[in-house]
């Protein structure tokens, strides 16, 4: 738990510094990053899937960053992007890529490797999609649009 808080603190602060976020937005970004890590790990602990846990965590980020954006007059994007980096599934992407390299170089007959690589690749894309949709969704509830697409 304390390690999780430390991880959320370090990663979101580091990304905020790299993306040159304004100084007064650093505290909310750190708060959101820690909240995202904790809620994701909490849901994973109770047996939910990685995609759904990531979606809930990024939904939390999107929802709370609306409040901070209204309060500090900074675009929602700044909070949402800096604090959602913690959720990026790099290890799955890496495993998918390694699997593809192994399939292409040798071990053509290894069926399990192909399935595993496909599994990790799909999981990467779904988690990425869950992050993006989870952030975008809460900001759209409060707006009114005058167009139809169907």
């Amino acid at each position: 738990m304390i390690l999780d808080i430390g991880i959320g603190f370090c990663v979101s602060l580091a990304v905020a510094i790299l993306f040159n976020a304004p100084v007064r937005s650093l505290v909310p970004i750190i708060f959101l990053g820690i909240g995202a890590v904790l809620s994701k790990n909490f849901m994973l602990h109770y047996g939910f899937s990685l995609e759904f846990a990531t979606f809930v965590a990024s939904f939390f980020i999107g929802l709370v960053s609306i409040y901070f954006a209204h309060r500090q007059k900074i675009p929602i994007l700044v909070y949402a992007i800096c604090s959602s980096i913690v959720l990026v599934p790099t290890i799955n992407a890496y495993k998918a890529m390694i699997g593809l390299i192994q399939i292409s170089t040798h071990q053509l007959s290894n069926q399990e490797l192909i399935t595993q690589s496909l599994h990790y690749g799909l999981r990467t894309w779904l988690v990425f999609g869950a992050i993006a949709i989870g952030i975008v969704l809460p900001t759209q509830f409060l707006k009114k649009y005058r167009f139809k697409i169907l």
């Binding site: 390690l3 999780d4 430390g6 991880i7 603190f9 370090c10 990663v11 602060l13 580091a14 990304v15 510094i17 790299l18 993306f19 040159n20 976020a21 304004p22 937005s25 890590v37 007059k73 900074i74 675009p75 994007l77 700044v78 949402a80 992007i81 800096c82 959602s84 980096i85 913690v86 990026v88 790099t90 290890i91 992407a93 890496y94 495993k95 890529m97 390694i98 390299i101 192994q102 170089t105 990425f128 999609g129 992050i131 993006a132 949709i133 952030i135 975008v136 759209q140 167009f147 697409i149």
Partner: protein, 253 residues
């Protein structure tokens, strides 16, 4: 006439700054509209391309003033977004447009970056903390920290010399993977070090902005941003696979 030219230059500069520093299309559009409303130019037409802005303002019943501004670079700098939105907030019809335009044209002074050594340290720290998230131990943390700090230093070095950004990303991910692979060689969690040391290159802004734009029916910019994100991901993957072929793929599964 001069006043109208100043107005449209000011609005285009605002849009250009927002587009260059990683704002979504909806934000660019609403900011320009908001600023135009405050300057008293409410019947403005806006068209936003992925790397350019076209503004058109009717000046009399016969003439249209049209201006095309090109965004010269695409990077992420959230302090510039904050600055521009604050300027728009404090704008009104009596604002001195020439002075404000002069201030906005001076792009480097508008939004200073954090000091370079701090960003370098933070890149290392963030990637190291990320490796702990995936279950690495403190030795892996140290290896990731060193590798990604060195990689970030190389990134800044190459970008200062105006390398092609995609080639720079291939080189940086190659070097970072090589370093982290060598530092964590023989460790059974070496793949965690490699996977998390390239975190500072992940094109998260491009992907999130892409979904943001696509859901708000800015299809062109959304697709272009998504394609940019995919190309950056492929560049990272090329660099990693080159380095892994040197080190031996089987050792890092």
């Amino acid at each position: 006439m001069n006043q109208e030219k100043l107005t449209i230059d000011l609005l285009s500069q605002i849009g250009k700054l927002l587009l260059q520093h990683g704002a979504e299309t909806e934000l660019v559009e609403t900011s320009i509209k908001h600023a135009a409303m405050k300057l008293g130019a409410s019947n403005l037409a806006i068209l936003i391309f992925p790397n350019a802005i076209l503004l058109s303002l009717p000046s009399s019943d016969r003439v249209y003033n049209t201006q095309l501004y090109k965004a010269e670079r695409q990077d992420v700098n959230f302090r510039a977004l904050d600055k521009v939105t604050t300027i728009i907030e404090h704008m009104d019809a009596t604002t001195d447009r020439a002075k404000l335009l002069e201030e906005l044209k001076h792009e480097e002074g508008l939004s200073p970056m954090y000091p370079y050594y701090l960003r370098n340290f933070m890149a290392g720290l963030g990637c190291g903390a990320f490796s702990l998230l995936f279950g690495g131990d403190w030795y892996i943390f140290l290896a990731t920290f060193l590798a990604s700090s060195l990689g970030f230093y190389l990134n800044g070095f190459l970008l200062k010399r105006y390398f092609n950004p995609f080639i720079a990303i291939i080189l940086v991910s190659f070097t970072t993977t090589l370093y982290s692979g060598l530092f964590a060689f023989g460790n059974e969690a070496a793949h965690i070090a490699i996977a998390s040391s390239i975190l500072f290159l992940v094109p998260s802004v491009a992907f999130i902005n892409s979904v943001n734009d696509l859901t708000k029916r800015h299809y062109t910019t959304g697709l272009v941003r998504g394609v940019r994100g995919v190309i950056i991901s492929f560049a990272i993957a090329i660099g990693i696979s080159l380095a892994l072929h040197l080190l031996g793929v089987e050792k890092f599964v």
